[in-house]
């Protein structure tokens, strides 16, 4: 007799509906409360996992709103494996289509930024490009040899998502924010393993896109001049290198 799959499926479904699984045994007056311990553990555990991943989203909407929203998200988007650090990729899109959050049109963009921070935090550890290799690449002697560290992610938004995120960090100075200001964010992890968020200009973002595609510093600078004819990549390259965000293209092929 194969009753275990049926029982487990009924238990799993009952966590959402409250219907007791077959054979659940306790005093009748207590059994719902006992089953509810499991129901609460599952819901609470997943809400907390999401809250850990999206702290600024939670701060923007408040505790109660966040929990109610997370509960609805969880009903539709359970994790598919136990590696919860990768769960929540669908949360920004869920927020974008969530009518009660329509009053905060930037919420989904802030969620994208927070998800990207988590990806950067857990990204792999390829060694940064050495100074000599960077010098060769910058002089064109060694073309197409540069790659971006796997933590590096470029995000664009029609809202001031970086400024809003920064305003919700400890010690942030209060100030006026125009949420409708478009912003471009570069998320990366530095050599101390801290995640950083930089605001980029359009030319800088084109440089990053070009570098990611071609691995060629001079070519990427040329692509950036489409947006800004006077663009000089030196400062950005030095900043990226200092952060350990440039690696060898060969490292990424391993």
């Amino acid at each position: 007799m194969h009753s275990h799959p049926d029982l487990i499926a009924a238990f799993r479904d009952g966590l959402a509906t409250g219907t007791l699984p077959p054979g659940a045994k306790a005093l009748p007056a207590e059994i719902d409360r006992r089953f509810a311990v499991y129901r609460n553990n599952v819901t609470h555990g997943l809400i907390e996992a999401l809250a850990t991943r999206f702290p600024v989203v939670k701060a923007l909407v408040g505790d109660d709103f966040f929990r109610a929203t997370a509960r609805l998200f969880i009903a539709q988007h359970k994790p598919t494996n136990p590696v919860l650090m990768l769960w929540g990729e669908d949360f920004p899109a869920f927020l974008r289509g969530f009518p009660p959050a329509a009053g905060l049109p930037y919420l989904a963009d802030v969620a994208r930024l927070e998800y990207a921070r988590g990806i950067a935090y857990h990204a792999a550890d390829p060694p940064p490009l050495t100074g000599e290799a960077l010098a060769r690449a910058a002089t064109g002697a060694d073309i197409a040899c540069v790659a971006l560290h796997p933590s590096v992610q470029l995000l664009r938004a029609r809202h001031a998502f970086v400024t809003i995120w920064a305003a919700h960090q400890p010690g942030a100075a209060p100030g006026e924010i125009n949420p409708l200001q478009e912003e471009i964010a570069l998320v990366l992890r530095n050599r101390l393993l801290d995640v950083e968020i930089w605001r980029l200009t359009r030319a800088e973002s084109l440089f990053i896109v070009g570098l990611g595609k071609t691995g060629h510093l001079l070519g990427a600078a040329g692509a950036a001049r489409v947006a800004d004819p006077r663009f000089d990549p030196t400062h950005l390259i030095l900043r990226l290198s200092a952060a350990g965000a440039l690696i060898s293209r060969e490292t990424t092929d391993v």
Binding site: L7, A124, D125
Partner: protein, 287 residues
């Protein structure tokens, strides 16, 4: 074969305590981490675990294999575990008599199963597979439970003993789980421990629980967010007196306190382990 965990008190590692641990190198038997928190590719979690592992014995504790589930084990997850074990070579790997996944959903909790011939065969097949893929013996932990199943035809202690006999796995005795589950079943935890195959125990867990009140008495909840309760310390003292020194972990996963509080819980466990050692040598001298 990995060397065993030291028979001493250890602590669950919490990243907020990393700097203190790294600077003060406290005398502890080992650290334990949840395997699933170290399944990212890199970054700070791995940097901290590598540094910790260089100084201490390591226990890898899985919470996501769903050994008591009805689905086949997740091969990708087993492969992730294997990579982690190859990288850090922990002294011990342990998992739970529980399930957490079904039909592609991961539920992030340790859920209960009935103890029947059918589930016995299933759990043993899963443990055989785990031990084969990981190339090592694992420890299986007794669960905290809040309700029972009328389908069960085995009592938990016999079920665990039979699993260990069939698979060769060892057992992780969570004394708090014994107190929680027995209290919730209105059974005597001392009777449970008298039936428990203590010779198979490779590690002991101690942790805190919460309590609610039902018409028939307390409903205890395994919460790992408070100090070990006095009745659990008392049960532990009796167990460790019978087993002799074993690796003993303090679990405190939620509302994690400041480092000195955790360390004092470990010291309290160590003191009871130490009394066992002196007690044994006294017995030896007397005989």
């Amino acid at each position: 074969m990995p060397s065993p965990l030291p028979a001493a008190a250890g602590l669950g590692f919490k990243p907020e305590h990393f700097a203190t641990i790294h600077q003060t190198r406290p005398a502890l038997g080992f650290f334990e981490v949840h395997a699933e928190n170290y399944m990212g590719d890199g970054g700070r979690p791995h940097a901290q675990l590598a540094a910790l592992r260089a100084d201490y014995a390591l226990s890898l504790h899985g919470v996501g294999l769903s050994i008591g589930g009805a689905d086949p084990l997740d091969r990708d997850h087993l492969a992730r575990l294997r990579r982690l074990i190859d990288r850090y070579e922990p002294e011990s790997f342990s998992e739970h008599l529980a399930w957490s996944s079904h039909g592609g959903d991961y539920l992030n909790d340790l859920l209960p199963l009935p103890y029947t011939d059918e589930t016995l065969a299933l759990v043993c097949a899963h443990i055989d597979e785990v031990q084969q893929v990981l190339g090592r013996r694992m420890l299986l932990e007794n669960p905290s439970t809040y309700l029972e199943f009328s389908q069960s035809t085995w009592v938990e202690t016999d079920f665990l003993r039979e699993i260990a006999r069939r698979t060769g796995c060892g057992l992780l005795l969570d004394v708090n789980n014994v107190f929680v589950a027995c209290t919730n079943r209105r059974e005597d935890p001392r009777a449970y421990l008298a039936d428990f195959p203590l010779h198979l125990v490779g590690e002991i867990h101690l942790g805190g629980h919460d309590a609610e009140f039902l018409p028939s008495g307390p409903l205890l909840i395994d919460a790992h967010g408070s100090p070990v309760a006095d009745p659990v310390w008392a049960l532990f003292a009796e167990v460790i007196d019978r087993t002799g020194p074993l690796p003993v972990l303090i679990e405190w996963d939620n509302d994690v306190p400041d480092w000195p509080v955790l360390l004092s819980e470990a010291r309290a466990a160590q003191s009871l382990i130490g009394q066992t050692m002196t007690g044994r040598s006294r017995h030896a001298l007397a005989s």
